[in-house]
Symmetry: D2
């Protein structure tokens, strides 16, 4: 059984909504797993090494994840090396199309790669991770659920493999 | 007379050292100006619109500026629009060559561009902004001073122009 | 009088359309200038140092400018140093919102910064440069024209300044 | 048995040298596999879907992979979707420390993620992929071999898993 953390920062509620849809997609995947959904300020840093996948979401503030999410990433250095080989994912909301949502998702992925984590792109849809622009529409929320399902499946594949060794 | 802020976050002292060398370069430029050097935690947010140029420096934490610097950028939203047309600059330190220093400098520049600021690259040396890898060596500190001189000159050119209108 | 090059790669016609709207915005700015609009394959490399501003546009292929545009940037190395201090700009089209348009614009800007060029962000609208997603809509084309006007004005300010020295 | 392609563009020979060291690391991993090393201009595009991992290397030209490598990525669109779930990797050489090597590696990784490929960071050493600055030194070449070994192992783990399904 895989264990996944979906951790987000949200003020307006958009990123929180995305987090919930991603979790829903994970639950609807038909695969067994324990999924924790946490605000970044309520996330127990000590819990990180216990997860098989960590998915982080943030609104876009000046083309990057929020300062609070960045502080969380900074503090995660106490586990540096222990997250190596785990699955990492990212999602972001932004006010405008060319407003920094892609750079926010990629910034999070860069941080997770430095942790040695494994990132999978998507040849369809939001390639780097789901993005919502403005108020979330049905297509965007659907892409969040598809992403959740996909992350669940990928994490399971990767973990089964590692655990066999 | 131009007014420039060099604002940095530093824990080990490397980024602070870079800030000082940049300021030294500005002072040695032979051009008149008022240069403020401030730790990010001691920077008065209300002072930002009073500067002609804002140069931000940070160590590289997970391929991005430190959370403290990012919080500062987030909070600068209260001045959104008022920094448009001012000069922006960035510098970064990192532990290793491929450890995220370029992505840190570019992340800061992206934030400053979203503020509508003006960024100048350099066809020689550290193209996006000065970088120190590990303990600063003489060449790196010299590049910080050259950068300071260059920023001073560029800010003066840009400001004189805007002020004539 | 400023001299500006708008150079683009286009296959479907979307990026070409953007280029035309940008040029229209420049022409409607009320400022005098000579504006050349060229397909990248028809651009005379030797002409580059004669421009005060160079604005490059490309569709998004795998999150980056097209190979043809990249070859053009590679070949521009023969002028390395001669474009220092000139204005640089970028625009991009993409099929989807999170499909790589921001990373394409930023990739072009990074190349222009390495040339030592001057880049100005926008505190409103498409911060790094105009973007069209899918078939261009009215708002997107309007943002292209606003960008053209803004680039014209900025280039004029910067050039007047440099030429006085 | 895994099948891996190491494909590179090289003019000065540095990136080619890196490719060879990466292959040596793969061969020294003690794991069985078929490893093809190809110049990008000699790579049969039709062969791509036959590999379990594709590792691309390029010198840094204006902060990005070379135009020839970018053309190769553009043309790989004929296999779009077929590379989903395969392992992707990147390496780069550059003249200077802050000269664009990180952005080149990340640009390649972004393209591979858009193909839906799987990218693994490294919590030690060159986090995103190996980098050589200037003339390769012993430490850099060693990091190339370590990377090769690590990619071989990771590809094997991922593939075994997929093939069981």
């Amino acid at each position: 059984m895989v264990k996944i953390l979906v951790c987000y920062y949200s003020r307006s509620g958009t990123t929180e909504r995305m987090a919930r849809e991603i979790v829903r997609g994970m639950e609807d995947s038909g695969l067994e797993g324990e999924i924790d959904i946490r605000r970044v300020e309520d996330t127990d840093m000590d819990s990180l090494p216990g997860y098989d996948a960590i998915v982080l979401g943030s609104p876009t503030y000046y083309g990057l994840p929020s300062g609070k999410m960045k502080l969380f990433l900074d503090e995660s250095v106490i586990h540096h090396g222990k997250l190596d080989g785990k699955v990492g994912g990212a999602f972001a909301s932004s006010a405008n199309p060319a407003g920094g949502n892609e750079t926010t998702v990629i910034a999070i992925l860069e941080a997770l790669l430095i942790h040695g984590m494994v990132v999978k792109g998507d040849s369809k849809g939001d390639h780097y991770g789901p993005v919502v622009i403005g108020k979330p529409d049905d297509g965007e929320l659907e892409r969040c659920r598809v992403y959740g399902k996909r992350m669940m499946k990928f994490t399971k594949q990767l973990r089964e493999n590692f655990s066999r060794r």
